[in-house]
C-alpha cells in the first residue's frame, strides 16, 4: 500500500503508523462526561468501506495525516494533513510514484 503524504509524496505503508479512527472527538480537557470519554477512548467506527483515519508519517516527515481509505479494497481516496489545509490531490486515479 502506498500513502501519498502531502509533504513527502507517495510512500510505502511501512513508513506510516496507524493511529486509528479519525472520527473520534476528544472531550474538552476538563470534561467529566465519562460517556463522552469512554466513547473517545474505546469506541471506534469500524466500517467495511470508506473510512476516515489518522496516520502518522512516522518514518518520514512525522506529520499526522487524515486519510480516507476503503477498508475492503485498501484504495486510498484522499490524504491531507490532520491539522488542516495542505490537502493532496485525490489519488484514486493518479497515485503513481
Amino acid at each position: 500500500m502506498l500513502i501519498t503524504c502531502p509533504y513527502c509524496g507517495p510512500r510505502d505503508v511501512i513508513e506510516f503508523t496507524y493511529q486509528g479512527d479519525g472520527n473520534r472527538e476528544r472531550p474538552q480537557p476538563a470534561s467529566q462526561d465519562l460517556d463522552a470519554w469512554n466513547a473517545y477512548v474505546y469506541d471506534r467506527l469500524n466500517p467495511a468501506g470508506d473510512h476516515s483515519e489518522i496516520w502518522q508519517h512516522s518514518g518520514g516527515c512525522r506529520a499526522h495525516l487524515r486519510v480516507v481509505r476503503n477498508t475492503i479494497t485498501h484504495e486510498i481516496l484522499s490524504t491531507e494533513f490532520a491539522r488542516g489545509g495542505h490537502k493532496s490531490a485525490d489519488n484514486r486515479a493518479e497515485d503513481r510514484p
Partner: protein, 419 residues
Amino acid sequence: MAEYSAFSLLKNALTGNKDWKPAWRKPDPKASYDVIVIGGGGHGLSTAYYLAKEHGITNVAVLEKGWLGSGNVGRNTTAVRSNYLLPQNTRFYEHSMKLWENLSHDLNYNVMFSQRGCLNLAHTPAQLDDYARRGNAMRHLGVDAELMNVDQIKRLVPALDVSGSARFPVLGGLMQPRAGTARHDAVAWGYARGADRRGVDIIENCEVTGFLRDGGRITGVTTTRGEIRAKKVALAVAGSTGHVMQLAGISHMPIESHVLQAFVSESLKPIVDTVLTFGMGHFYISQSDKGGLVYGGDLDGYNSYAQRGSLPIVDEVMSEMLALFPGLARVRMLRSWGGLCDMTMDGSPIITTGPLPGMYLNCGWCYGGFKATPASGWCFAHTIAKDEPHEFNAPFTLDRFYRGLIIDDKGQGANPRLH
C-alpha cells in the same frame, strides 16, 4: 449418520467408498428457530453444537454467508494454548484446553489435536522474569507451565540457533507442554457434523442483511435467503462484527477489524516439533503433519476487511524466522493468506448478553480465536440458554471498558493493533 472409525473406513473401502454420506445436511432455512447463530465459523458452529448437546436446544440455525468455515477457523496458524498472564483469560482458555483434550472423541471427528507443547523464547533476563511471572500465574491456577533452559531448548528444537552469538540470543523459555496444534478445518467440519447430527440446521450461502425487530427487541434476521425469525439471535461473526452490528444500528464498538497474515512453507520432513514463539518480535511457528511450516507474525496494523496482507509484514515475519532458524533461508514460502481479526481495546474477548434485547454477542477474539473455539461456543451457549454468563465468561462483558475492568494481558491500553 454412521460413526467414523477404522472399521467404517475399511468397510467403505471394500464398497469403493460409495456409501459415505454428507458430513452435514444442506437444509433450506425454516421460517423460525429458537436460536439463530449468525456466523458459520468455528465459534458459531461450536455454539450451536453445545446449545444442542449441553442445553438440549436443537431448534437452531447457523447462518453462514459463504461456505462453512470460510472465516478465521480456516485461516489461522492452528495453535492451541492457555498460557495467559491474567487469571480471567487463563481460566477461560484452560477450560477450552480441557474441551480440546477430548474433542475428537466428543465429536467423533479427528481434529488432530496434537499436544506438542508451546514454547515462548526469552532473550533477556527481564523477559525471562516476565515469563516466569506468567508461568507462575498459570501454575497458581492449576495450569501446566515450566521454564526451559537453553540446553533443554536445543534438544527440543535442534534447528534453532541458540549459539548465543545471535542479535537476541535465546536465554530460556516458558513451555506449556499441553499446548499444541489442531487441524483447523477439521474443527469446523467436526462441529458442523456434530451439530447437524443433533438437529441443528447449518445454512450456507445465507448472508444476513438486516435485523427484524419488535419494538426494541431483535426477533430475527433478513437474509439473502429470506426472513428468518428467532427467539434469540446470537452473533459470532468475528472480523465482521463491526459490519453486522452496524446492520443492527450500532455503529460504534470497542473493536477494530485488522488483518493478520499467515504463511506456509513447502512440505519438509519434520524439523520443528513444537509451537515456538520469538520473544523479540511477533514471530511464531509450528509444523503441520503434512510437513509445511506454518508461521506468522504481527498484524498489518490498520483496519481492513480485505483478507489481504501487505508486503512489509511479509518481510518482517521472514526476517524474524531466520533470526531463529538461519538454516531455513533456502526453504520457500508457498502460500500466504490474511485473516480478519476483531481486535478489542484490551486484547480480550467479549461474550455477553445484549447489547440489544434478544441479541447475544460473541466477538473480540483478536488473533486468539482458534484456540478459544470450544470454550467460546460452550460459554456462549450457556449465556444464550441461561440468559446470563457462565463464571468463565463473566469478565468478558462489553461494559468493562466503561467501568475500567479491563483485561489487558499485554498492557498496551486502548490501542488494538498493539494487543
